[in-house]
């Protein structure tokens, strides 16, 4: 307590560096010793903060800003970059592939995020009440989150195979349903891949939801029950509103995840990346192909700028929609 008081007290009064009194214009106190205690603390704080800030500026912010510059050039890794103005963006708008990739990306976002949030909440809500083997069940749900996305994608890729080897088609056949093409269909491929992405992220969302549920004081529930509220009313009036910060966090995180989906799609369609006929190709895969298959770095940078803008707008929009109304 005394130390805190010492820190916040007037400079020069307490501490080991009393404010030097001016001794004359010819010998003014200089540098470090002239600083007050609190000023020194600020310097120290910034000194420590400078390292991560410089690091982030170097590996995060600088490349991000540089992508904006690159998107205005025709750089292909080999030749020096030429400034081409907005050519890459004009090309992007008229690229038929981009339209489809854009729709695919939003399909992953608009179907994937709500589905995964609802499923995760329902599981967390009921799992919270289960006492029998609670830890084991929770661990089982969490397991996919710990597994490498590429390994999971390959297992699912084989699950989805046509007869005679596909496990899912084998099951369908045993209950008399005709074989489905799954990844070989322009309609079924995207949902088939999305299911695996939802499943992979479910464990994490369940754990966060459960932590949120546990954080709600039980006195609220007790009071509600004494007042005679039904289970559904309790869910609607108490649980969901109080879970809002958790939900906002998960919606933002999950949206960013689906907008950036890549591993699952790439690994499940390596022979025809993002196929068939581009029906599963997300924006990130298109960026990857432009940059590292065709070496059109400028064009790829323009796509990343678009992705960045989408991510920014979607995140801000969600924060605004789900903001606390006071």
């Amino acid at each position: 307590m005394a130390r805190i008081a010492a820190r916040t007290s007037e400079p020069g009064v307490v501490g080991n560096a009393p404010l030097p009194l001016p001794t004359g214009p010819e010998a003014p106190p200089r540098g470090w010793h002239r600083l007050s205690m609190s000023q020194k603390q600020v310097v120290w704080a910034w000194g420590f903060l400078a390292l991560p800030i410089l690091f982030y500026a170097g590996i995060r912010f600088y490349p991000t800003l540089d992508a904006f510059r690159l998107s205005l050039t025709d750089w292909n890794l080999l030749r020096p970059a030429n400034f081409v103005g907005l050519d890459n963006y004009v090309r992007l708008v008229s690229d038929p592939q981009f339209g489809q990739v854009f729709r695919n990306t939003f399909a992953y976002l608009l179907i994937g995020t709500p589905t995964s949030i609802v499923v995760a909440f329902v599981i967390a809500y009921y799992l919270d009440r289960v006492r029998f083997m609670h830890g084991l069940i929770r661990a089982l749900y969490f397991l996919p989150f710990l597994t490498t996305a590429a390994a999971m994608a390959w297992v699912w890729r084989w699950f989805y195979q046509p007869p005679p080897i596909g496990a899912i088609n084998g099951f369908l056949a045993s209950v008399g349903i005709p074989a489905q093409p799954f990844l070989r269909s322009t309609e079924q491929a995207l949902p088939a891949i999305m299911v695996t992405a939802i499943w992979a992220g479910l464990g994490f969302q369940i754990i966060i939801f459960m932590a949120g549920l546990r954080a709600i004081p039980s006195t609220y529930y007790e009071a509600a029950r004494i007042d005679g509220l039904g289970e559904f009313a309790i869910l609607r009036r108490i649980t969901l509103p109080l879970l809002k910060p958790t939900t906002v966090f998960l919606v933002v995180l999950s949206s960013i995840g689906f907008l950036r989906i890549f591993d699952q799609v790439y690994n499940m369609t390596t022979n025809d990346p993002g196929g068939p006929l581009g029906s599963t190709k997300p924006l990130v895969l298109m960026i990857y192909q432009s940059a590292f298959s065709s070496y059109e770095m400028g064009y790829a940078a323009a796509q990343t700028v678009v992705l960045f803008t989408i991510l920014l707008v979607v995140s801000l929009l969600q924060l605004w929609i789900l903001r606390e109304r006071t």
């Binding site: 070989r184 025809d272 068939p276």
Partner: protein
């Protein structure tokens, strides 16, 4: 006095060091990771260093997926290799980007190259200069499962020689279950594998057309021949039902698992197929077309000299390149990797031609074509998509091909 001594000592040291440097030149050789290739190259380097005591070769490898990016990025950073392996299809990019230097005509006279190597080596020529030479070349052939042939009542020792006989064999070996699901395919259909080469350079020609003009700058497959070839190919699944795209995920996986009687694949697959123990397989030349036309697609990885090599390093790099493209190196490569020698005299020996496995591939080399791609992945994608539009969306072969040809022409034009 002291300083003079010191200076003298320093000078002597520098002199010694320089002499050492002159004796021991180190050059870097880059290739991608593929066990057999790395092993073969290690052996070549050992032999080369034994014969050239002053030169050491540092063997640097990268995973295939990153390889091209690494070479390009290293060049951008000014730290390229002295001798570098590259796919012939990357030559345009590498030459335009200044990654390679032309091979000096004193060390590698053009007349000698063109006489000794298979004609496909000219794919390494730009503006009258060679930018690389291959150790080994690859071609396509028909792999067939002898056990499935026998089961279907076909002679396992006389594989189909014409497209008609090939279709008949595929029909005979296709197996379906009660629900009509394919359980074993007559042939693999995999445009993402080697089928796009087969269609482009073989089928289109066998149906009377040509895929491109001779300089590969103009797409010419959008005509009756191209349409007939694509229709014939897609009808293998749609009408004849002897194969299905995506069956067993990949064509080579289906063949390996013994669930496809035939597949068209390259020399590079030999290593993987050699480990098959559950059935006997054979190799045959690609089936001839209706009028007897034979064709094949050949490709290769060449070795070029990095633009930054100069002076002693350049001299050493030239020596090394000459060694890895020598008859001796080609024999080692054939033994270790199983790829065909790029020099005619080494490849077309009686023993090789009589070999039941190498023979069909080697005969294919004689009439093979080498597509000059501007972006192989993107050009392959266009054929995959054209096929999928027919197979999955019911588009007509004419429409699908017209779309593919226009897109491919635009792609080629954009790179010139």
């Amino acid at each position: 006095m002291r300083t003079t001594l010191l200076k003298a000592g320093l000078l002597a040291g520098v002199g010694l060091f320089a002499a050492n440097a002159a004796q021991a030149v180190e050059i870097e050789y880059w290739q991608y990771v593929f066990d057999a290739r790395v092993k073969a190259m290690d052996q070549l380097i050992e032999n080369f260093e034994a014969a050239n005591p002053g030169i050491t070769v540092k063997h640097v490898t990268f995973p295939y997926a990153d390889y091209q990016t690494r070479v390009v990025a290293a060049h951008a950073a000014g730290r390229g290799p002295d001798v570098v392996q590259l796919f012939y299809g990357w030559t345009d990019n590498f030459v335009d980007g200044g990654i390679l230097q032309p091979l000096s005509q004193e060390a590698f006279p053009h007349g000698e190259i063109e006489e000794a190597f298979f004609p496909i080596v000219t794919a390494m020529k730009r503006d009258g200069e060679y930018y690389g030479l291959p150790t080994a070349v690859r071609s396509l052939a028909l792999f067939y499962n002898k056990n499935l042939f026998e089961e279907a009542g076909l002679d396992p020792e006389s594989p189909p020689q014409t497209l008609d006989a090939w279709v008949a064999a595929a029909e005979a070996t296709t197996k379906r279950d009660g629900a009509g699901n394919m359980i074993s395919a007559g042939t693999t259909l995999d445009m993402a594998g080697q089928d796009h080469h087969w269609w482009r350079e073989v089928l289109v020609r066998q149906f009377g057309g040509a895929p491109y003009t001779d300089d590969y700058r103009t797409v010419t497959y959008d005509d009756d021949a191209g349409r007939a070839a694509l229709e014939w190919y897609t009808n293998l699944q749609l009408e004849k039902g002897v194969g299905a795209a995506g069956f067993m995920d990949e064509g080579q996986a289906a063949f390996r698992a013994g669930l496809a009687a035939m597949t068209i694949d390259g020399t590079f697959r030999l290593g993987a197929f050699r480990s098959i123990e559950s059935f006997e397989w054979g190799v045959a030349e690609l089936p001839a077309g209706p009028d007897g036309t034979r064709s094949n697609y050949s490709s290769y990885f060449a070795n070029g000299i990095g633009a930054s090599a100069e002076g002693e390093e350049l001299e050493a790099a030239e020596k090394f390149l000459a060694y890895v493209t020598s008859p001796e190196a080609m024999e080692i490569w054939l033994e270790t990797v199983g790829e065909l020698p790029a020099r005619r005299e080494v490849a077309l020996t009686e023993a090789n031609l009589a070999d039941p496995i190498y023979g069909p591939f080697l005969r294919g080399l004689d009439y093979a074509h080498t597509t000059l791609f501007v972006d192989e992945a993107a050009q392959r994608q266009l054929i995959i998509d054209a096929t999928n539009r027919i197979l999955l969306q019911g588009q007509s072969p004419a429409g699908a091909l017209e779309q593919a040809a226009a897109a491919e022409q635009a792609l080629i034009d954009a790179r010139n």
